[in-house]
């Protein structure tokens, strides 16, 4: 066991190795490690954020859906109401129109009845005159008896 210069040599080598390690080995590796650590942390944070965003979006979409449904329901209700209104209105219209038609028809019928009666009356008068002529074997002077005939006709 000789203690000799080897000790100094080893110390010098030690010093050089440590300095080399400190300058050229440690920093890049540690930097890479830290960078990766940061990347992973960022990635995790991003995924967290994305999950939260997704949740928010889902909530929002559910909300929108609900709102849309509500709107649609309101629209349908409105439409129904409107349709009912229209149906009611048209029913009323139809009823009025129908009444009007009926009244018109009635009026027409009345008119025709009156006309027919008038015509009938005239004809009856004529027939009565003809009958009376036959009975009397003489002609009835239409001009002479027209007043009487009119009176008769009015009685019919």
């Amino acid at each position: 066991m000789n203690i000799n210069l080897t000790m100094i040599g080893q110390a010098i080598a030690f010093f050089i190795f440590v300095v080399f390690c400190m300058k050229y080995v440690w920093p890049p590796i540690i930097a890479a490690l830290q960078e990766r650590q940061k990347k992973i942390a960022d990635g995790l944070a991003a995924s967290d954020r994305a999950a939260r965003d997704l949740e928010l979006a889902q909530e929002k979409s559910a909300q929108e859906l609900r709102k849309a449904k509500q709107e649609a329901a309101a629209l349908i209700e409105q439409a129904n109401k409107r349709a009912n209104q229209i149906v009611d209105a048209s029913k009323d219209d139809a009823r009025i129109e129908g009444q009007k038609l009926v009244e018109q028809a009635k009026a027409e019928i009345e008119q025709q009845r009156i006309q027919a009666r008038d015509a009938l009356r005239a004809e009856i008068a004529a027939i009565a005159i003809a009958g009376a002529e036959k009975i009397l074997e003489s002609s009835v002077d239409a001009d002479k008896h027209s007043a009487m005939l009119d009176k008769l006709a009015a009685e019919l």
């Binding site: 000789n2 203690i3 100094i8 080893q10 190795f17 920093p27 890049p28 590796i29 890479a32």
Partner: protein
């Protein structure tokens, strides 16, 4: 594998030493040197006669080799480091870096850019040096013997010079940061005012030498224990491998395999302990709570 068992063991525990032999020195083969010469020792006596100004080529060579291997691998990974999907090498390197970073974070709470890379270097380097222990004991020495080198001790951490060189560097850092963080006065105060303290000024002054002795010993014990723990564990492990290698070749596996498996644990643990203690010592140097 020539000679007796003790020769074999001694041969295996001898470093390849390069140093200066003085003039008129009689070498192992009997030749006498005319003038002082720088040369490779051919025997254990020659190596110890070279004194302090000699270098263990094998320890230093292997330690620098595995250290450079570590830095080469990690540098390659660092250059290609990406924050996207990492490749196999980067994965491995990141695991090591994370592990060391975590250890440092748990123990050291100050801000210091040196400690984490220092700990990484210590852990990987010591581990790789220890790992050389798992290379069969005769494999590399035999190869180098063929290449003409007499001695080759391939596990740098079984050389107390190597472990001392590292632990004394750590010690220098302890002193440096103690002085930097606490200042000269603070550091001296820590050495002299603790653990015994008094409100009485005279008693306080009287206690200074006692405190200084205690704290000084505990301070000096740090690098020594750091170096000797690693050295002792690896030396013992290497010695056991060498002893196992003395068995007949067909019986060696029965002992060397279990020991090698157990040794995987030891070398990792020792590298970890060296790293952890370095971090602890340096964090103590940063703490200013006295």
């Amino acid at each position: 594998m020539a000679g007796t068992a003790s020769d074999y063991i001694r041969h295996h525990l001898q470093n390849l030493t390069y140093g200066e032999l003085p003039a008129d020195y009689q070498r192992t083969d009997g030749t006498v040197l005319n003038e002082s010469t720088w040369t490779i020792a051919r025997s254990a006596e020659e190596a110890s006669d070279m004194g302090f100004w000699a270098v263990h080529l094998d320890s230093l060579g292997w330690s620098i080799f595995v250290g450079a291997l570590f830095l080469f691998l990690f540098r390659m990974a660092a250059k290609r480091a990406t924050s996207d999907t990492p490749g196999g090498l980067q994965n491995f390197v990141e695991v090591m870096v994370e592990f060391v970073d975590q250890s440092v974070r748990e123990t050291f709470h100050g801000r210091n850019k040196v400690i984490a890379p220092l700990a990484l270097t210590i852990f990987c380097w010591v581990f790789l040096m220890n790992l050389m222990d798992l290379v069969p004991v005769d494999f590399l020495p035999q190869l180098f013997h063929l290449a003409g080198l007499e001695y080759m001790k391939v596990v740098p951490t079984t050389d107390v010079n190597v472990t001392l060189g590292m632990s004394l560097s750590v010690f220098a850092l302890i002193i440096y940061y103690s002085l930097k963080v606490k200042g000269v006065g603070g550091f001296l105060g820590e050495l002299t005012m603790h653990p015994f303290s008094s409100d009485n000024l005279i008693l306080k002054i009287l206690l200074v030498p006692v405190n200084f002795l205690l704290e000084g010993v505990s301070l000096l014990a740090k690098p020594i224990s750091l170096a000797l723990r690693l050295f002792g564990n690896l030396y013992a492990g290497e010695l056991l491998f060498i002893l196992i290698a003395l068995l007949p070749f067909w019986a060696q596996w029965a002992l060397s395999v279990p020991w090698a498996i157990f040794h995987i644990l030891v070398i990792t643990l020792q590298a970890f302990i060296f790293m952890m203690l370095t971090i602890v010592y340096l964090s103590m140097a940063h703490e200013d709570n006295h």
